[in-house]
């Protein structure tokens, strides 16, 4: 199954245009998904199961998109109608269900402000194929946190699509730890002037996990701003593909785009491939990207070990320190603790 195509292809033998996953069986016997818990009693937020027809500009590919379109076992439409102080927490915990094909549509109406946390966790191998669509209307602010803590033998597929209107601000934080294969397609269509989008991602790969992250931002309005910050660590035989595209479309004058990807390699058999693209059809913009990879600084490691930590604990501490800049922006202390614990568990 070849999925998650980049918007622009490069040489085939660079092995980065898409990901070819073998041994992934798409589910065919789908039952209703019941392992969902939603916390928010705010009457200003309207929930329903009637999402609009799915139309994705990119997505992971027809096979996975059609699976949700045709067989989704969880549809959730969230309409935010005013500024709220209480976050929406959606918890998919896979206690009984082994398959989740969810379609989430969030509309932040004009002038609204909200945070939405979506957490996936499981103790055994599960199959997750999800689509999250965001409509950020004029002057809205939406903070979305997606946390993938699925079991390491699971399959995790997620397509995210944002439409960001004038002066709207969408902040996305993605914590990507789980899944034998974890494949994410993130697309922002920044249509309005002064639209903003911040994407902060932490990934952690161990064992023989494969992570494929394909982030695409198309800047169309004037004075758009996109920031992509991806921090990750890989250990054992884990492999990561990061494909990040900032596409300055003609007319997005005075827009800026920054993309930073940093991969900490914790073993000599871990592999990190990155393709940070800048596409530019507009002169009056500023685009930057940077990418780095390497192992933990030995001097720093030595220093921590002189303070009484074992090598493994010192490494964990450094990974957590690296992730902290992004973790501290999560507005839920309990969730933050949960993520820190997962780092300890997954790094063994």
């Amino acid at each position: 199954m070849e999925i998650n195509e980049t918007p622009v292809r490069t040489a085939r033998n660079f092995n980065i245009n898409n990901i070819n996953l073998e041994n992934v069986n798409l589910p065919d016997n789908i039952t209703e998904y019941t392992d969902i818990w939603i916390s928010n009693s705010d009457t200003k937020v309207k929930f329903s199961n009637f999402t609009s027809p799915i139309v994705l500009t990119y997505g992971l590919g027809d096979s996975l998109t059609n699976l949700v379109k045709e067989m989704s076992n969880n549809r959730l439409k969230i309409e935010i109608n005013s500024k709220t102080n209480k976050e929406i927490f959606i918890d998919y915990n896979f206690s009984n269900n082994k398959t989740l094909l969810e379609d989430i549509e969030i509309t932040a109406n004009e002038g609204t402000k909200e945070a939405v946390i979506i957490k996936y966790s499981s103790n055994s191998s599960v199959f997750h194929d999800g689509i999250i669509r965001i409509n950020a209307k004029i002057n809205s602010y939406l903070n979305v946190i997606v946390v993938n803590l699925l079991n390491e033998a699971s399959n995790n597929f997620l397509s995210i699509q944002n439409n960001i209107e004038e002066n709207a601000n969408v902040k996305f934080t993605i914590i990507d730890f789980g899944g034998q294969s974890s494949v994410t397609n993130y697309y922002s269509n920044m249509t309005g002037d002064f639209a903003q989008n911040n994407v902060n991602t932490i990934y952690l790969g161990s064992g023989s996990q494969i992570l494929d992250l394909n982030y695409i931002a198309e800047l169309r309005g004037k004075k758009n701003n996109i920031k992509i910050d991806v921090q990750g660590a890989l250990t054992e035989n884990a492999k990561k593909h990061f494909k990040g595209t900032i596409d300055f479309k003609k007319g997005c004058k005075k827009s800026t785009g920054d993309e930073n990807e940093s991969c900490m390699l914790l073993s000599n058999t871990a592999k990190g491939i990155s393709l940070p693209m800048l596409l530019c059809s507009e002169e009056d913009v500023e685009g930057n990207h940077s990418s780095s990879a390497g192992k933990i600084d030995e001097k720093e490691l030595f220093y921590i070990m002189t303070r009484g930590f074992s090598l493994k604990d010192a490494m964990k501490l450094m990974v957590k320190a690296k992730f902290n800049k992004i973790l501290e922006t999560i507005p839920n202390e309990e969730l933050k603790e949960c993520i820190l614990n997962e780092i300890d568990v997954r790094l063994g």
């Binding site: 490069t10 058999t269 393709l275």
Partner: protein
């Protein structure tokens, strides 16, 4: 007010000679045509067989599914071999007037007198002039055309020819293998330092034709060489094709600098392949200026096979209206403690498109590798396009890898600063563009490379404002 940077003035390259040839092969690409080329070139049997095998590979491989659209290329409309009305000579006096006059206008004989240790000049499919200073001959340096090398040094050629760039590398490498003609062969013996550069110049005059020169350079242990390659062609209405191949072998502790100033005409599809294999503690430097061509797909490659080997790529592309320059660099770190430094720049204007496409691969067996990549793109108007598409493939932990890229226009703040120091707006902008290109232009052999003087110093500096 927009910065006005003129297109590269091509008058000095666009003059055409009459299409006088001794033999022009019929258009198309068939086994018969390939055999005909082989006959014309009096190939030994092994080379004829090699060409036919290459054609088979060509027919099996697909066109690239990425990069610029090259669907306008129709091999049925291209003559792959054009023999000029002359033979190889080592004296400019023996070169026919029209051909000599071409190279005179390009400044090659003059440069040879003042600043080069040897010159090769190819006109269409054949090398028409080759010469090298006596003292290098005495030191055992070989600098000759490829056909002579195939005849006189068959064992060396067999050992190296299309081994660095295998036929299945891509479709146009296979095409090259089938129809190659001309090019240079350089052999620098162990320990010999060639202090003054050698230069080969490739001129394609014939319309609806292709140039497929093969450059093979072997720099033995502890030897060093600076090789300069220049190329140009007059503009025709129909497509011309350049699918040359450069294979460089830099042995242990050796040094090679390969400088290219490419200024093909804007009807040229430049689908060239360049690769170097670098030995232990050896160093390979690439310096590249890419100004011409309608479409260019050019990604020189260093394969760092020797422990402690190093490579550096310094390149600039300048795309004007109607040009799509898809250039970049590839490096594979295959041994411990190898290092690579990449500094790529591009300028696009008047609807031109520049793409920087690259690969850095650090393999499992390259602990201690270091790689630093920097690319910057400058857009001079709002109808041009500039893309950066770098792939970084890191397969071991003990590495230091960093990549950074910037894209944008001339900074208003910088213009303001320079104007506050007394410069006019135009002078300020001109200085910024010069400054942008300077890290590359200073690496180019300005004192030797006639092309560079004309293209960067004269055209770029003088034409702004």
């Amino acid at each position: 007010m927009k910065t006005q940077v003129d297109e590269i003035n091509r008058n000095i390259y666009d003059f055409k000679n009459a299409d006088n040839y001794e033999y022009k092969i019929k258009k198309g690409l068939t086994p018969e045509i390939v055999e005909d080329i082989s006959r014309q070139k009096q190939d030994p049997d092994w080379m004829r067989d090699f060409r036919l095998k290459a054609l088979e590979v060509y027919n099996k491989l697909e066109l690239p599914t990425w990069g610029p659209d090259i669907s306008e290329l129709n091999m049925d409309e291209i003559a792959t071999y054009v023999k000029p009305k002359t033979t190889l000579s080592n004296s400019w006096e023996d070169v026919p007037d029209d051909i000599k006059s071409t190279f005179d206008k390009l400044g090659i004989p003059e440069a040879e007198k003042t600043s080069l240790a040897g010159v090769g000049a190819q006109y269409d499919s054949e090398v028409v002039y080759h010469s090298m200073k006596e003292d290098l001959i005495k030191q055992g340096v070989i600098y000759t055309d490829m056909e002579t090398a195939v005849r006189e040094y068959p064992e060396i050629v067999k050992e190296h020819f299309m081994k660095c760039v295998p036929l299945n590398d891509h479709k146009f490498a296979a095409l090259h293998g089938a129809v190659w003609s001309g090019g240079s062969f350089v052999y620098v013996p162990k320990g010999v330092k060639v202090d003054i550069p050698l230069q080969s110049y490739f001129r394609l005059n014939s319309p609806e034709s292709g140039q497929f020169e093969h450059t093979l350079i072997i720099v033995e242990e502890e030897a060093s060489l600076h090789f300069i390659e220049g190329c140009s062609a007059p503009k025709y209405n129909k497509v011309n094709l350049h699918a040359g191949c450069v294979e460089l072998y830099v042995k242990d502790n050796a040094y090679l600098r390969y400088s290219t100033i490419e200024n093909w005409s804007k009807n040229m599809l430049n689908l060239n392949t360049k690769k170097a294999i670098v030995g232990k503690n050896a160093k390979m430097d690439w310096v590249s200026g890419s100004f011409g061509s309608k479409i260019s797909m050019l990604y020189p490659m260093s394969i760092l096979n020797g422990e402690g080997s190093k490579t550096e790529f310094t390149g600039i592309s300048f795309a004007g209206g109607g040009q799509n320059l898809d250039n970049g660099f590839k490096v594979v770190h295959n041994a411990p403690h190898t290092s690579s430094v990449v500094n790529a720049k591009s300028i696009s204007k008047n609807g031109g498109k520049c793409t920087y496409r690259s690969l850095v691969r650090i393999s499992e067996n390259a602990p201690g590798a270091k790689s630093s990549v920097s690319c910057e793109s400058l857009m001079l108007d709002d109808i041009s396009i500039s893309d950066t598409i770098p792939t970084n493939d890191i397969r071991t932990d003990d590495v230091e890898f960093s990549h950074e890229a910037k894209i944008g226009k001339i900074s208003d703040k910088t213009i303001f600063y320079l104007m506050s120091r007394g410069l006019s707006e135009e002078d300020a902008k001109a200085m910024i563009v010069r400054g942008f290109a300077y890290p590359i232009s200073k690496e180019l052999p300005v004192e030797y490379a006639v092309e560079m003087n004309r293209l960067i110093n004269l055209e770029l500096e003088g034409a702004i404002g």
